[in-house]
Symmetry: C2
Subunit: 132 residues, 2 copies
């Protein structure tokens, strides 16, 4: 069953984690879980202090090659009638500018403000689904 | 911190839900949560009885246009030192053949065997990460 755009955007906004899909120049999708905040219709994701094997992140080089991205939040439950997901498709840019909403949403960012860079995704489409 | 290939594949195998990323012919990524099973190095996903708005699914048309896909399982925790994810990249094909592992893993498939079609992903790369 389709969720309304407003309901899907709300569920995405309050989700604690989402998954970011980017695509390489040669068409290989790349997936990574992300913490994020949504201001108006822009999703903000920080390259933060969580340990990474490199600063030269695939998600950033992919966005430079192809700005089209997708972000998904979902909840699993063994009772499948409780399943839902919410997804935003959009156009990403890499930015040096953070957003105070990140620290409002996550205590970890209050204690350890992310230095960035930041990914800002301008949402074009929001869709959502629930089993019942 | 990188997980070993074996450890990442194990975490993926036992995860109850993952997210499948496919890419359209014009380079737009598409994300959807999936239930799945892994036999050897092949991920099997069923188009199942969960309600869908259409049988003409974007994930299937995307795979026909571009077989490169990515599958991600992750666990969120407010204690970020507990975070982990595991990801498999691979080549997908659409198949009429199910796999008994689906019903072994999910009671719902025992009661309601999926009719398909099925997506079979031949894993090429497995990566994984844990905070600590």
């Amino acid at each position: 069953v389709r969720l309304s755009r407003d309901e899907a955007l709300h569920r995405l906004r309050v989700a604690r984690v989402a998954r970011l899909a980017t695509v390489s120049a040669d068409g290989q999708p790349h997936l990574v879980p992300v913490t994020f905040a949504i201001r108006d219709e822009v999703i903000v994701i920080a390259v933060d202090h969580k340990p990474k094997s490199t600063r030269n992140l695939k998600r950033l080089s992919n966005i430079q090659a192809n700005p089209r991205v997708s972000v998904l939040a979902d909840e699993y439950n063994e009772d499948w009638t409780q399943l839902w997901w919410a997804r935003a498709d959009g156009t990403a840019e890499i930015s040096g500018r953070s957003d105070p909403l990140l620290a409002e949403k996550y205590q970890q960012y209050k204690e350890n403000p992310p230095q960035g860079p930041f990914i800002r995704i301008h949402i074009t489409t929001v869709t959502g689904w629930t089993y019942t």
